[in-house]
Amino acid sequence: MTTALEILLKLAAWLLLAPLLPGIINKVKAWVAGRRGPPVLQLYYDLAKLWHKGVVLSTAVSPAHVIGPAMAWVAIAGAALLLPVGQTGASFAFRGDALLFVYLLAFARFCIALAALDTGSAFEGMGVAREVSYAVLAEAAIITALLTLCVQSGTVSLATMLAPSAGAGAALLAAGLFGVLLAENCRVPFDDPNTHLELTMVHEVMVLDHSGPPLAAILHGASLKLLLFAVLLTEAVLPLGKLSLLPAIGVLVGSAMVVAIAVGLVESLLARLAFRRVPLLLTTSFLLCLFALLVAWKGGTP
């Protein structure tokens, strides 16, 4: 009973905190640009509004257009349950849950992609093609990162993998994962979340024809995903396993802030890359993870 309650509490925490991150990022961007910018809680307002809005469906779409986002949202939420928080560990922890984590995110991608293709629009097709193609490289990077942690800790369970710090290779790993984070969440320099030219979009163009509650699910899922990556990045680098719950949460929140600010800074300082250059950057982050792996292999002891 208590465990069930605990799980529900954790889940609630994840879901509630998630929309905060984009707000922070936007705030940082506005601040850098010298504007006041939207309130930090803007996304909450948007979600609430969307949830009550009516829906306009394309004449071409099938039920998948609506079902897809729901499935994706569930998958991401499920992934959240696998991510340990400090000492208490995750709600679900077992050997190999790291892989489940990765594949749940992949499942989410699959659903969103099909929902997007459902409209039969060339724009969505374009976006999906880009999304799934870049995901290939991102996937390689994440698997490499997991391998690094596995070599580091000698286990295959996130709870224990993330407990110790990545040691010598931590900086490399952090850089690599940060690149993956930007790519997977479609931030600059891979994608510009608030561009207005369909031809240059990746993620935005996929949700072009969504509206109302489905769009809300997609947006919330995206923010949750961002949060997941931020936490994963933090725990991979910092030895949170040794802290007790509250300090751990504190550190987590703080570092999530830091990540958000970093993203914001990157977005305001860098420009979007040309599409042909994107694979290059992703390969770079993959290589960073690979080097981290090598460092761990040489330095770490089983």
Binding site: W51, K53, G54, V55, V56, L57, S58, T59, A60, S62, I67, P69, A70, M71, V74, A77, G78, F92, F94, G96, D97, L99, L100, Y103, L104, A106, F107, F110, A113, L114, L117, D118, T119, G120, S121, A122, F123, E124, G125, M126, V128, A129, V132, S133, V136, E139, A140, I143, L147, C150, V151, S153, V156, D209, G212, P213, P214, A217, P279, P302
Partner: protein
Amino acid sequence: MTPGWLLLLAGAGLAAGIFSAFKSPRLWLVTTLIGAGAAFAAAVLMLASGVTWDWRPGFVIGGEALHLQLDGLSAFFLVLLSVLGGAGTLYSSEYWSDKAHPDSAPAGRAWWNALLLNMGCVLLCANGLHFLIVWEIFTVCAYFLITRERQRPATRAAGWLYLASSHVAMIFLFAFFALLAARTGSWELGPMRGHPELAPLFWLALIGFGLKAGIFPMHIWLPSAHANAPSHVSAILSGMAIKMGIYGLVRFTGWLPVPPSAGWVVAALGVTSAVLGVAFALGQHDLKRLLAYHSVENIGIILIGLGFAMIAVSHGNAAWGQLALAGGLLHVWNHGLFKALLFLGAGSVLHATGTREMSRLGGLWRAMPWTASLFALGATAIAGLPPLNGFVSEWLVYLGLFDAVSGRGHAAIAAIVAAMALGVTGALALACFVKVCGVVFLGLPRHEIAPHVHECGWRMRLPMLVIGVACVVIGLAPILFWPALATAAAAWQPELANSIPPAPLVTLGAFHLALAALVILAAAFLWRRVRRNGLSRAGTWDCGYAAPTARMQYTAGSFAGIITGWFDWILRPQRHEQPPGGNFPARAGFEEHTPETVLEKIIEPAGSLVLRLSLAVRHLQHGRVQSYIFYLLLGLAALAILAVMGGAK
């Protein structure tokens, strides 16, 4: 009923099917289904009891006493065979009906039963000679099934390519079994790890069985054969026939000693097949050809599992070998199931629209919702996504690899490479099946396909449904199937057997269950929410363009463009571009075709070289009798030299 009687019943049913195939299709259907059911029962019985069924009747065939044996491994494969066989039987009764194919259907039914029967016999034979015989017969049966539509030159070419490469495999198996018999002095098969001198034979087996399994450089026959065969045949070919190659490898790596490098080679081949197979698949525009290349990919995944299991054995039974093997074996089942599902789905698309060309299809979900949703299910499974079966087996393989890594043993580095390859393969497969589902079933029809597009009848739908359910069940309750895996593993390597399922598998199953439930709930909830908020219809956002047409949708080629670009070095796609020009561009065109590189760049040149040689030789037979007598003299001289040479020795 003991397995023996059930198997007898199965054989009788299939044989009866062969004879009733021409006269009465209904009788054929019944007898064949009974046969498949009996085989299924026998296999399950054996797997449940774990008792090997061993039968040595007196009578002699071809100079060797008959010896049949149903042990864990053969039972494991027999399950798959009987399920796919039964499903395909029912499916074909509508798909390849007498009405549609009056002259090829009856013989097709007979060949179908012969194929099932002989594949079953291959699984049962414990005598090298008989193994060889039924193996070749099943190969030939498959040829006649592939060339059902032999009026089409493409089919004939595909069929001949299949026949030729199968015969290459056959020649290697000839050598393999003959050497085995020559060295051991008997045709009896069985565990003989005590004879290290037999280890080199593994290489013969690898080529012989690898050709059948379609491992990467040896896969040349696979795409065209699978694409041109009737779909239920493609399903059994891809689901079962290529697994026979895997069966051979597993069986003989279990019975015979292998050279130390064997495991590494198998794993390396697996990695190559997995990555390149899916890369080639991405380049295809022909639905069934694409699926065929995915068979290469999945065979690769299976081999990664098997290879690491072999490495584990050769390094003293590391625990992770067990997981890798379990993953590989389970993937045999899984790939058999979802690939059959996908081929049957492709079959009903072909049946309805008459084309395999994806760029002509689109928006089929309206006309054929059942096919569309089942195909989507299969796609999710083959992309290795939770909560379906594809993920379970890949996850087991992953687990084995990660354990190998964390163990920091000899295999760690190799495991790292394999794990990365597996990850990339998964992502590529996902991309590929997003493309397939999106282009074929979603969006709008790209061409005015014949108006008679219709959902397939229940006899085609039911088999797909059954297989789909099987995929889901394996995904949600993998724990149920662990005993089967353990029994099979025990038959392969007693040391690797472990009847206690790994704890994580239980948790994974629970998680999958929860996930599936929540996914459905959420979907329903959101759908209701949308309804409540009220929904209105409008055209897809066209960015203000006045006259959007269905042909402006993203096509298969353009979708995969980015990734195929990365693999240009091996895919060698041929592009014919006709860019729009001038102020008022007339018609522009762009077409792309990905050839079978290994075949067209390596095999065919070599073949033409041999043909040129034979042409040169044939010129000697130019019809002038004087020179014929001269050849005679030459022969005489050669003989004399040979003979005298010996005299000198």
